[in-house]
Amino acid sequence: MSVLALDLLLVTALLWSGLQSLVSRNLFRSIVLFIVFGLFMALAWVRLDAPDLALTETIIGAGITGALLLNGVGQWHAKQRNKLK
């Protein structure tokens, strides 16, 4: 029963973070939420008995993709700032 509760909680977290990262009005927050989403994915892999995937997801899904996205948003912000000036 409580295994199901744990899974339900995890699934809720996944869906919530995923949805929020898509609809959030602030782009930076979207990316943070996406990284959080990656973390939940890693946990989901653990629950699915796939530790290799969990490791990969943390490094690649959350880590590398997150860093790339952060870098992208940084440039975008820089451009926006230049425009304002």
């Binding site: 409580s2 909680l9 973070s17 959080v36 890693a42």
Partner: protein, 93 residues
């Protein structure tokens, strides 16, 4: 998985969800950074717990990676996010 470990895990996950709420509702930027760091630590704790409960040492590696990631993201956050967040707040209000 023992009942105790499970309950602990659920508790930690609930913590994460609360942290998530902190990120999505718009508090101050500092709140957000703290929430993000909380993710890292709670995540690590959760993974270690699962490693212990399911007797799967490989999860410890994942926990370590996550800890590292938490640090990196924290730095990136401060470097990139802090100022912009504040600017956006100012720009909007």
């Amino acid at each position: 998985m023992s009942e105790l470990a499970l309950i602990l895990a659920i508790f930690l996950l609930a913590n994460l969800l609360v942290a998530l709420l902190r990120v999505t509702r718009r508090p101050t930027p500092a709140d957000r950074m703290l929430a993000a760091l909380l993710f890292g630590t709670t995540g690590v704790a959760l993974l270690l717990l699962l490693a212990y409960a399911e007797d799967a040492p490989v999860l410890v590696d994942i926990a370590l990676t996550l800890a590292l990631l938490g640090a990196v993201i924290g730095v990136a956050f401060v470097q990139r996010g802090w100022n912009q967040e504040r600017e956006e707040e100012n720009g909007r209000s």
